[in-house]
């Protein structure tokens, strides 16, 4: 999130789209309720079905799964066509006034931007997706926003196709509702008002998921909603610590702190550093962060003379994809993988095309699962339909503690790092994961201690001198946290923050964005529990530590006008007091840079142009401006351009081979969660009090479809897609819809994906149905929109 949970109380309008916040993030509703009580805030729910969130919303608008981008495109058009944008804000704080190179274009006939190579299914030439520069290399601008090649005018033309009527046709939304949503949300473009967008996997798990997220950033920039209380683009993350896991780079393409993963194209540290964004982007400090990271990992073995042991880092093959989709495809095709450690995951239930992925697991020689329960992944060899006699995988199940039985930090969606203490000991011999990791690393290091093979050096030299967690888990975690925070290696003292990190090897730091969480002066700030709230905005700076630098709202320089004065008294948050930036939060800006300095009016400090990129310069694989494409399995044609699907979506080797069409699979389907279960259900389906609340897997279907197919409420049905089948109980409800899409009626259904064959309550795995294709940029699977058929189970 750019903002944080408590901040929802400051909003005037909350747009909940692609999230079922009331059910899946109940705490958000306590703050939304406060916004409603105290500010008269309005809540909008946009969702394919009427959910518990919709039930508590002021305005509900249904859209069919897979059409977020059309919905947002319509909103962008509405803003631009009706002058709902915040003119001064976008002229100064975004690249709307920048002029784009001649030659850049988008052709609705082909559905492509310039630079696409059909053979490689990729935009191989992105040179025109760039600014026009003057002789000194400065970006050419037109602050009046009138130049025909200004980003503003390009966007205006691009989105003019997204009329309310066209969007309604594609989304299957009632025109009047759509208009009401646009009108209400864009009212937050007025000075003194703020609107928040709340989203979750209902935005991201699509072949155009990244572009959906970009839409939200564009809208919030146009409305001037970034960087101020009650605004922002707010991802409600799906686990208590999934923010922490991405921060620490439990992802295939990153190192901790969102630094890129080295590839074979960057064989030396110099080559790696050459990819650093140029100054004045704050990212230009990256060489300091990578040097400090390498010092944290390799200690004495990392020094300026050997590139800080950069060689030890594994290099991804340039151009090769290592995502979940690719990994399981490789495994399925007997490539690359022999063994697998599964921590805090249950891919047999959570992965797409579960039939294929669980079959793939059979090709492993060994599998180590760490979980409090024997979940579907560790029990894959006895899943329905499998023959244990034919499966040679050796499976190790290491029982681990649950969240109440371990200690350490979790980082929630608001980037807030909070220490949690253990409530009770786990049963028997269970251990927390970090203990197991410690023992694993020590065992590996012992095995390689005598080796002088160069490829083993990365294990031999890995620093691992933490106190033994068997004696004290607390001391072990303390040492790890100090290393993550970073130290001055000559004094041995903790650094006060990432500003102190150096490129010369004199500091170490395990994750630059977490630097400052543990300081000499303030101790372990993640343990701090001070409730003070200066300004009353709910920032609570003394409660835990929010990265970066304890900022609660990022881009908060935007809460003041270009001259440093608050845009309005009502939303006074950060301002220039003549000598420094002051207010109720840590400035996301150089603290003493005056507004009249050359960069003093440029709040987006991570970017080279220090502006919000409503036009994404060269960055994304599927275009610099979001454009609607249909989900890979869709019941209709794309009306916005002549290309049906995202031109660069991730197909992998097998994904595209098992797709179905609307003739055979006429219903739109999506998967979703319920409040009562937790992810793959490994915990909640083993917990009687939760299991009783939702004892069976169910599919929500509309009354019309139920009538057509003669399905009664509470009867068992079977869903079938091109990948597989799943049975579930039918919940016939007027809350599920039939959509009129491009003149044709199409039913939408959807089911929970919390079920599997293990636990106190069991059910078919919903992901038997989902396709093995993913987003063009992240390869996140398209879990949320695909085609199925349904039949009543009579036998």
């Amino acid at each position: 999130m750019t903002n944080h949970w408590v901040d929802f109380k400051n909003t005037d309008v909350a747009l909940i789209c692609g999230s079922n916040a009331a059910e899946n993030h109940p705490v958000s509703f306590s703050w939304l309720q406060e916004a409603r009580d105290k500010r008269g805030a309005k809540i909008i729910s946009v969702d394919p079905r009427f959910t518990r969130t919709s039930a508590r919303a002021d305005l509900y608008c249904p859209i069919r799964s897979g059409t977020n981008l059309a919905f947002y495109g319509g909103m962008i058009n509405y803003i631009l066509a009706n002058d709902r944008y915040h003119n001064e804000y976008i002229a100064h704080y975004s690249n709307a006034a920048s002029i784009i190179k001649e030659g850049f274009s988008f052709d609705p006939e082909t559905g492509l931007f310039t630079g696409y190579d059909e053979g490689r299914r990729a935009y191989t030439d992105r040179t025109t997706w760039d600014y026009e520069r003057d002789a000194e290399g400065k970006v050419r601008k037109d602050l009046t926003l009138q130049h025909p090649r200004s980003v503003f005018q390009l966007m205006k033309r691009h989105y003019s196709r997204y009329t309310v009527e066209a969007v309604a046709q594609t989304c299957g939304a009632p025109v009047d509702k759509l208009r009401q949503v646009y009108e209400l949300f864009t009212s937050t473009g007025q000075v003194g008002k703020a609107g928040s967008i709340m989203y979750a996997m209902g935005q991201t798990q699509f072949t155009s998921g990244s572009q959906n997220v970009r839409c939200m950033a564009i809208i919030q920039t146009l409305l001037g909603n970034m960087g101020l209380p009650g605004g922002g683009v707010n991802a409600l993350r799906g686990h208590s610590n999934v923010q922490g896991s991405t921060d620490m780079a439990l992802l295939f393409h990153l190192l901790p702190g969102y630094m890129p993963c080295p590839t074979t194209g960057m064989p030396t540290l110099e080559a790696y550093n050459a990819t650093t964004p140029p100054a004045p982007a704050y990212w230009s400090n990256r060489p300091k962060w990578i040097a400090s990271l390498l010092k944290a990992w390799y200690g004495e073995a990392a020094n300026p003379g050997n590139d800080f042991a950069y060689d030890f880092l594994p290099k991804a093959q340039a151009g090769k994809n290592y995502s979940h989709l690719a990994l399981f495809e490789n495994l399925y095709n007997h490539q690359d993988l022999e063994g697998l450690f599964v921590w805090g995951q249950n891919p047999v239930v959570s992965g797409p095309n579960s039939n294929m992925e669980s079959k793939a697991v059979e090709n492993l020689k060994w599998l180590v699962c760490l979980d409090p329960f024997e979940n579907e992944t560790s029990a894959f060899w006895k899943r329905p339909g499998a023959n244990p006699a034919e499966i040679d995988t050796e499976v190790f199940l290491l029982p681990v503690t649950t969240f109440l039985e371990k200690e350490g930090t979790v980082t929630h969606s608001g980037r807030l790092i909070q220490y949690r203490w253990k409530a009770v000991d786990g049963p028997g011999n269970v251990r927390q994961e970090s203990f197991i990791l410690d023992r694993l690393v020590k065992r590996l290091k012992a095995l390689y201690a005598g080796s002088d093979q160069p490829q083993d050096a990365m294990i031999k030299h890995l620093t691992w001198n933490y106190p033994d967690p068997l004696r004290s888990q607390t001391d072990f975690i303390d040492a790890v946290m100090r290393e993550i925070n970073g130290r001055n290696l000559s004094t041995g003292k903790l650094v006060p923050g990432f500003g102190a990190l150096q490129e010369d090897g004199s500091t170490d730091c395990g994750n630059w964005i977490y630097s400052g969480m543990y300081t000499e002066e303030l101790g372990n700030r993640t343990q701090s529990r001070v409730l003070d709230d200066p300004g009353g905005w709910g920032a609570h700076p003394g409660w835990g530590f929010a990265w970066p630098a304890n900022r609660r709202i990022i881009y908060n320089r935007c809460s003041a006008d270009p001259d440093g004065k608050p845009w309005s008294e009502e939303r006074k948050y950060l301002w220039w007091d003549g000598a420094r930036w002051t207010g109720y939060d840590v400035p996301d800006f150089a603290p003493t840079m005056p507004p009249d300095a050359p960069l003093g009016k440029k709040p987006f400090i991570m970017m080279a142009e220090r502006e919000s990129r409503v036009f994404a310069i060269g960055a994304l694989n599927d275009g610099p401006l979001p454009e609607h494409y249909e989900p890979v399995e869709s019941p209709t044609h794309n009306v916005f351009n002549r290309r049906q699907n995202n031109p660069a979506y991730f197909t992998g080797t097998d994904g595209a081979k098992s797709l179905g069409d609307v003739e055979k699979f006429p219903l739109i389907c999506s998967t979703w969660r319920v409040c009562e279960h937790w992810h793959t259900g490994a915990l909640s389906r083993n917990m009687p009090w939760l299991a009783e609340l939702m004892p069976e897997s169910f599919v929500e279907i509309g009354e019309d479809l139920a009538r057509e197919r003669n399905i009664g409420n509470g009867e068992m049905v079977e869903l079938v897609s091109a990948r597989g089948k799943a049975r579930a109980m039918a919940m016939v409800t007027p809350r599920a819809h039939m959509f009129e899409i491009n003149g044709r009626n199409v039913h939408q259904v959807g089911l929970t994906w919390h079920f599997g064959f293990q636990g106190l309550v069991t059910g078919d795995i919903a992901n038997n149905l989902t396709p093995h294709v993913g987003d063009a940029n992240t390869a996140i699977p398209e879990f949320k929109a695909f085609l199925v058929d349904i039949r009543k189970v009579t036998s």
Binding site: A22, L693, P734
Partner: protein, 275 residues
């Protein structure tokens, strides 16, 4: 101690069912895994081991707009409590803080209270021969803590305080609620001498399974005022003649009803009455 109460504001409940779990956790009641009910609602009704639950009410309005509301069902701890009046064995008492408390030793599981509760709250555990219902977390509230269900409620749909405070808060909440649901109203403040649960309802009580105008039957008054005043020692003859006979026959009828239920698969499997 003053009379205590819960305000249950349906217009804020998001049906997270934290209260349902929290009640079981505090009172250490076993999970009761039943079959799919055809709705989000977990079971058809309360049971001896389920003292509170969220009931789901789905409604398609004439204009096509949807409404979906969630009512936490629980003992109301009525000022004028039918259960207490009906109990022949002094197993129910009114505490100073308003709790209608059951005395374990005295309860014979006769189920007479079931008959006379206007809200269908008490449930008889046939094996233990005891009636069970929400205790108002008497153990917590008499030690200065709020009920477990109120504590867990994230959007503050359940609020706990003195009856007077809750009665006043109801006006404030009603004003808020009416902005979103114009037909909202207060329920329980005036009913039956003031209930220990004051609801903010988005619409008419009947839509959420509540009697519009709850009252106690005339016969209950008779039982209480005519039969009971003789006192326990003197009750013999007249009780044998009227009350006891009634209780026994009632109990036998109940037994039949309960065992029929068990044969069908028990409370948990009662299906689909809810929408």
């Amino acid at each position: 101690m003053s009379r205590m109460a819960r305000l249950i504001d349906i217009t804020r409940c998001t049906a997270c069912r934290g209260c349902q779990v929290s009640c079981k956790r505090w009172n250490q009641l076993a999970g009761e895994i039943g079959a799919f009910t055809g709705s989000y609602q977990s079971h058809d009704d309360l049971s001896p081991g389920r003292w509170t639950m969220i009931k789901f009410y789905e409604e398609k309005k004439p204009g096509g707009e949807m409404a979906w509301h969630f009512r936490k069902a629980t003992c109301m701890h009525c000022a004028d409590a039918g259960c207490l009046k009906a109990c022949p064995n002094e197993a129910l008492v009114r505490e100073e803080n308003g709790t209608i408390r059951r005395i374990e030793e005295n309860c014979i599981g006769c189920g007479h209270c079931v008959q006379f509760c206007p809200f269908d709250i008490p449930k008889v555990d046939e094996v233990a021969q005891k009636m069970k219902k929400c205790t108002f977390c008497y153990d917590r509230i008499s030690n200065g803590r709020e009920p477990a269900c109120a504590k867990t409620c994230v959007p503050r749909a359940i609020v706990y305080g003195t009856w007077d405070e809750m009665a006043a808060l109801a006006d404030e909440r009603l004003a808020q609620a009416q902005k979103l649901y114009p037909d909202s109203r207060i329920y329980g403040r005036d009913e039956l001498g003031g209930l220990g649960v004051i609801y903010i309802l988005p619409d008419t009580p009947a839509k959420y399974g509540l009697p519009e105008d709850p009252s106690l039957p005339f016969t209950l008054g008779l039982w209480k005022d005519v039969v009971h005043p003789f006192g326990k020692g003197l009750i013999g003859a007249s009780l044998a003649a009227t009350g006891l006979a009634f209780i026994i026959s009632r109990r036998n009828a109940m037994k039949l009803k309960e065992s029929a239920k068990l044969e069908e698969g028990g409370y948990d499997d009662e299906q689909q009455k809810n929408g």
